[in-house]
Amino acid sequence: MKIVVTVKQVPDTNAEKTFDPATKRLNRSSVENVLNPFDEYAIEEALRIKEAVGGDSTVTILTMAPQSGVDIVRKALGMGADNAVMISDPAIGGSDTMATAYLLALALKHVGYDLILSGTQSTDAINSIVPAAVAEHLGIPCLTYAKKVSVRDGSIEVQRETESGYLRVSAQLPALVSVTKSINEPRYPTLKGIMGAKKKEVKALTLADIGADAARLGDQGSKTAVDSFTTVGARAKGTVIQASDPREGAQKIMNFLIEKKLI
């Protein structure tokens, strides 16, 4: 079975962000980039499915990123993925979510797949749009927000998180699954894994290789445009009181809620 995991590099949550006023894009070179934390759950799940299914199953990592993105790919390979595919092209920069989904879908068609796994969202944009849009482009079952996945004989069953519980959903492969953090505990790359990752294949694909139309990518190919960014100031520090007497502490909170018309 061929399992492909789509991953993304994101700026570290703790990093200070600055924006290029001309392009209105994040200065990605000025912050430390990391593997999107949600993607680690997808990689872990892919490795577990591969181990369970056995045979000649493989796990391929797919990302669109500048060359600097090779670091996150190496991390994924260090966890145990077999090989990776990177699409890097200046024309991609500035692509919005729908343009990104278009490109990933073409890359997936080129690479081939039985099962596509991804994180539910990225920590930088929190869109949760790309996985479902990719499934729609490919015309395959779209099983998002999975907290449990089981694969057997060409069919798949997931438990999909809902606002009030979960749905048990079944479909035939090929399918796309996005996973939530409840699904597993991602492994750390071992030293042996990290050393081995250096020898694994990282294939570079061009837009021409996958038949992508540059006019549908980047700023010009995106149907949305950011006009401005405003940095949100830190929340002002409010009043902090010591409550040695719990009743008094509770009363102070109550008075505050009444004053703010919250009760």
Partner: protein, 326 residues
Amino acid sequence: MKTVISLVENDNGRLRRTGLEMATKAADLAKQLGVASGAVVLGKGAEQAAEQLKKTPVDTIYAGADVPLDGFLGDPAADALEALLKQTGPALLLVPATNLGKDLAARLGVRLNAGVITEASDVSAKDGAVVVQSPKFGGSVLSSIQFKSADYQIVVCRANSFAARDEAGKGNVVTLAADGSKQYPARIEEAVAQEAGKLTVDEAGIVVSGGRGLGGPEHFDIIEALADALGGAVGASRAAVDAGWIPHAHQVGQTGKTVTPQLYIACGISGAIQHKVGMRSAGIIVAINKDGNAPIFEFCDLGVVGDLFQIGPELTKLVKERKGAA
């Protein structure tokens, strides 16, 4: 653009809390843009939900009670919305930022070659164009985003972003026909409602969250009692979820939900950046923690350094007394 339509979710005839605010927003935007407005509600109970939507100022309510939302995941709703939007012509579609809403935005975006903007905290009309405000990078930046040329525009809206208004519109109800016998590839085998009828953490106007300071799952009853008294939902920090004290659906923060309630009460939560990014946009933040050096005291509106196990129940009692007296 010819119309502004809001997707409203319903649970067997009960509108999700965001429904009325989304429908009101669709009506207001349509008025500013000089186009028609509508709200669409699908699945079992759609007729009852449509009655409740008559309180809002929308022109037309589209009700698709026969769309088999409970039999198949996503596909029937995507088909019904695609058919409706192709019939209405160029439109702005507002969808709620729920799991199903986000999936539908993505899939309709592909089918209709639409522009899609997510995590909207506000949507307005300026010189005939739609302008969306959306927090990015954990709420540290607010971006203002517009659509370029696109016949169809889709905006995924965060809960608690708009105000609902009681003002009856035209109240036309149009029934959306659906082929109930059609089969789709992703089949729902079973729906497990662990917390049916309870307010979810992302739609609630008040969220009371518990963290590591609770010390164990048994103490979440303090959080639940306070949330119930206030009419809010129960949230949790990553530490509490990872310890298995409460399901992930309650988690607020980087690897959980991003919430924007009017009031957020953090109990026994230190306030690390990973939690902060999920709740920093709340209207008012109150923190109770025994550790006076906890980072949460740097960005809350009112911080109380003290014993949560005593202050929590006391506060619940005071809230109940006040509500009982009112």
